[in-house]
């Protein structure tokens, strides 16, 4: 039995990457040339995506009058917005807070934003299904400029472009390094790495990070109001857009955990990605799980305490009658199971435990988006003063499932295709970590020193 087991368990110190700089570039190059399983994954998700396209065409052929049939389509966009497009927020927040743990995983998470291409494309037909905003409460207050298609396209487009900008900008030095290591100096010619270039890169990354955060908040605000709240007469809940975004951030953390685990496992990046980023994200995930409850409770309690008929009708639609069962299952997966598991310290500090929690949250969030969007799209008369009749539950058909699976697969496919263009590992950030963090002897043990240049 090893000595000092107690010390080893309780005196964990932050991981220090000790890979030689040349090896970092070699690993980056290797990640851009993925092997056999990659081809299979592309084929699998490509096939599912095609099925989704078929589903979309079938749904379109049925017309847009029956709005309830488009609920799963909108829920798919909301799911992508709350998972793939929320995961980069973890990296972006880590960058703005100058957290060192983000370095080996920042690129893999920022690349999730590219899946926004799918949500941008999907929002075009989805917005056309929405009834006119004139004559009912909406963000546009009967303005002639109140065209949901335009505003949703603008805000989702801005989010996608901010993500694309982040990936493009941060990948420039890496691509130059990889190409130079292969003997192609044309990339290095474009990026010789002058002091000015580095300064522009760092400033640009900070600005784009801040812009991404703002666009994320804006996207949830506009999308959730247009596609959910404004379709339910009598539902005037100021907290709802923020709640939609907070749910998304919780699922964004879950997506980040899943992406980190997959990249670590299939990219063979154990030397770079230790348990530290999982531990860091799990703390954030616990905080967001608590916030999930707080935001939902604040909304529920205010409406329930008000007890006006319009509030009770909204509560019945969302939490009571038709979707009660779905809400209970969702609550279990998105809140109760993650909350209990994340309270356990060994779970937070393990990769496997975090992955289980992440899967639970993602499943719960999927049910949440289905519940919200099905309920909103099922309302027949959106021009009423209040919800006079609570519609029954919407039961999905095969086409809905095809659309849901196809949309999510499309997002995964975009990510997989981008892997060949950009190293999954942010090489320059990792090489910075090699310079800025060290293990030093400290009394009778070792300690990790992290340099703070700013």
């Amino acid at each position: 039995m090893p000595r000092n087991t107690h010390r080893a368990v309780h005196h964990y110190r932050p991981h220090v990457i000790t890979v030689p700089p040349a090896q970092v570039v070699a690993d980056g190059r290797r990640l851009m040339r993925p092997g056999g399983a990659y081809g299979l994954a592309v084929a699998f998700f490509g096939l599912l995506f095609l099925l989704g396209v078929v589903g979309f065409i079938l749904r379109l052929s049925g017309g847009t009058e029956h709005r309830a049939g488009w609920a799963y389509f909108a829920a798919t966009i909301a799911f992508i917005l709350s998972t793939f497009q929320a995961a980069p927020v973890v990296a972006v927040a880590g960058r703005l807070a100058k957290g060192h743990w983000r370095r080996p995983v920042a690129r893999a998470l920022e690349m999730c934003s590219l899946a926004g291409l799918v949500s941008v494309l999907m929002v075009i037909p989805a917005a056309l299904v929405l009834p006119p905003t004139f004559g009912r409460p909406s963000l546009y207050f009967d303005s002639p400029l109140g065209i949901p298609l335009v505003w949703n396209l603008v805000i989702l487009g801005a989010l996608f472009l901010a993500g694309l900008g982040l990936v493009f900008l941060s990948a420039r030095p890496d691509r130059a390094m990889v190409e130079a290591s292969e003997g192609d100096l044309s990339g290095a010619g474009a990026w010789p790495g002058t002091t000015r270039q580095w300064r522009v890169l760092e400033k640009g990354m900070t600005l784009l990070s801040a812009f991404y955060l703002m666009a994320y908040v804006g996207a949830h605000t506009v999308f959730s109001t247009d596609f959910v709240m404004s379709q339910v007469p009598g539902w005037h809940s100021a907290i709802f857009p923020a709640l939609h975004g907070i749910d998304g951030l919780q699922a964004g953390c879950a997506t980040a955990i899943l992406v980190m685990a997959l990249v670590r496992r299939f990219g063979r990046l154990e030397a770079y990605i230790s348990v530290d980023p999982f531990w860091g994200v799990s703390k954030l995930m616990l905080a967001l799980t608590l916030l999930w409850m707080y935001f939902h409770y604040a909304e529920f309690l205010t409406l329930w305490y008000g007890r006006t008929p319009r509030e009770i009708a909204v509560l019945t639609l969302l939490y009571g009658g038709p979707y009660l069962g779905l809400f209970i299952v969702e609550f279990l997966f998105v809140w109760l199971i993650p909350f209990i598991m994340l309270l356990i310290f060994p779970v937070r500090r393990s990769i496997g435990g975090n992955v289980v929690v992440a899967l639970s949250i993602l499943f719960g969030l999927l049910l949440d988006r289905i519940r919200l969007y099905s309920a909103a799209f099922s309302v027949e008369d959106v021009f009423e003063h209040m919800l006079e009749t609570v519609p029954g539950p919407y039961i999905p058909d095969l086409v809905d499932i095809m659309i849901l699976a196809g949309g999510i697969s499309g997002a995964v496919l975009v990510y997989l295709l981008a892997v060949r263009l950009v190293p999954l590992l942010a090489l320059w950030e990792v090489r910075q970590a090699l310079l800025l963090s060290r293990a030093i002897p400290y009394l009778r043990t070792e300690a990790t020193v992290v340099a703070k240049p700013e």
Binding site: A238, I239, T302, R438, I440, A451
Partner: protein, 456 residues
């Protein structure tokens, strides 16, 4: 690049205990000044009790005005301490070290001051005892659990107890230092409070554990307190108040004003006690960055409240927003509120030169709190003025001298509390400063030496 002066343990002890163990002549001047400010409030309260709440400008239906505005303001300020101390402690942010204690002390005195307001507001504060506590079991007379007079004391006293315990548990090592460096009654006083602290490994382990546990436990309480205060408003069916976003909007607003108040306090402490070695531009820079994030988040929630207040286009709700924005005197106050709470401070905080200037941070943080006080006033009074549908029951509100006295006096009370605390206990945690010296390290990167920190 961070500035980091190398300080010996002896120097840290001497500088941080100087004001505690010696009384400079200016202490009495400041004490008298703060006593006078507090006295104004005291006289106002005595006059109110002797005469009755008719001396205030409140008139039905505006029965909540200056006092409740001030109550919400001080509960808001109290959110700084735990937010900074607990969150930064849990995230191991190095820059927290000189800031935590002042923030925690501000929490306790702001909260105690806030708690006085509802009691004073009822006019005959001794009656609160049987509104809050069950006093006659046999006749089945129970407090109304649906009343804010139950909710607020429950929340505030839980938070006050937790915060006081939090301060005390992290103060113990410093009390022992004060005990070992004082004589006479002071030695006995600090000795009793230090609970036999010797600084052995077990004591340190327990103290660290207590700090972490209390940090984790106090955070939900901190969120719940201002949420409950917001429920005083949101649960009522008063247009302009009955909003689902009020709970997080109040909490984030509280953090915005509270962190700004900590920046103000840090600037004053640095000037007053010559703490230049401990409270450095680095710390103001970090506070500024935190303020920048919180300020933008607060503005988002303000926009949600504004947009969704108008969203349904209900007549009374629209009328209230019209009053807030277009009617005298609220229009002028609204402009000042927007300028001071967001439009001026946020762009200022975006400038590194401002964040690193103690004077500018002091001014910016004062601006924020002017704006946040007005925010609460604008939120409360116009909504009550027009809460009735029939016009004959509309009313106006004009604050009277005793109300001004109460508001000014409350600032005096909090300032006096913090000042006296700083006289009796070290306002900068001594052991935290020593720990920061131990954790300081350097990393050679090429020809450059970069300051670093040992990570636990």
């Amino acid at each position: 690049m961070q500035e980091r002066p190398v300080l010996s343990d002896r120097q840290i002890n001497r500088e941080l205990l100087d004001f505690v163990l010696h009384t400079p002549i200016w202490f009495w001047g400041v004490l008298m000044l703060l006593g006078l400010v507090f006295g104004a409030g005291f006289v106002a309260v005595v006059y109110l009790i002797a005469t009755g709440v008719g001396v205030w400008g409140e008139n039905w239906p505006v029965m909540w005005a200056f006092e409740i505005t001030n109550f919400v303001f001080w509960v808001g300020i109290s959110h700084a301490g735990v937010m900074i101390s607990a969150i930064l402690r849990l995230t191991q942010a190095e820059w927290r070290r000189p800031v935590t204690r002042a923030a925690e002390v501000l929490t306790v005195f702001a909260l105690a001051t806030a708690a006085l307001h509802p009691a004073v507001h009822v006019g005959r504060f001794w009656r609160v005892i049987y509104w809050v506590f069950p006093y006659d079991f046999f006749r089945g007379i129970w407090p109304n659990v649906r009343s804010p007079l139950i909710w607020d004391p429950s929340a505030i006293f839980t938070y006050l107890t937790g915060s006081s315990l939090f301060i005390y548990s992290v103060l113990i090592p410093d009390l022992a230092v004060a005990r070992d460096r004082s004589t006479g009654w002071r030695r006995t006083f600090y000795g009793i409070l230090a609970l036999g602290w010797r600084g052995n490994p077990r004591q340190w382990r327990l103290q660290t554990l207590a700090g972490i546990l209390l940090s984790g436990l106090i955070l939900p309480v901190f969120v719940s307190v201002h949420s409950i205060v917001s429920f005083d408003f949101a649960m009522a069916l008063v247009p302009g108040w009955h909003s689902t976003v009020f709970a997080p909007y109040f909490v984030i607003g509280a953090v915005w004003s509270g962190v700004a108040a900590v920046a103000t306090l840090m600037a004053i402490l640095r000037f007053m006690f010559k703490l230049h070695n401990y409270i450095r531009p680095d710390h103001f820079d970090a506070l500024g960055r935190l303020l920048l994030v919180v300020g933008n988040a607060w503005f988002y929630f303000f926009l949600l409240d504004f947009i969704f207040g108008l969203y349904a286009r209900e007549e009374t709700e629209v009328k209230i927003w019209q009053a807030r924005i277009f009617e005298w005197p609220f229009n002028a106050l609204f402009v000042i509120f927007l300028l001071t709470a967001y439009i001026l401070p946020v762009p200022l905080l975006m400038m590194r030169s401002v964040r690193r200037s103690v004077t500018m941070m002091f001014l910016t943080s004062v601006l924020i709190n002017i704006g946040m006080w007005l925010e609460r006033y604008i939120l409360i009074v116009p909504a009550l003025q027009y809460k009735q549908v029939l016009q004959f029951s509309w009313s106006t509100y004009q604050p009277q001298l005793p109300e001004w006295g109460l508001v000014i006096g409350s600032f005096g009370l909090v300032a006096l509390g913090v000042f006296l605390f700083a006289k009796i206990f070290p306002i900068i945690p001594i052991y935290e400063q020593k720990e920061s010296q131990v954790f300081a390290a350097e990393v050679k990167v090429g020809k450059v030496t970069v300051p670093g920190v040992i990570r636990e």
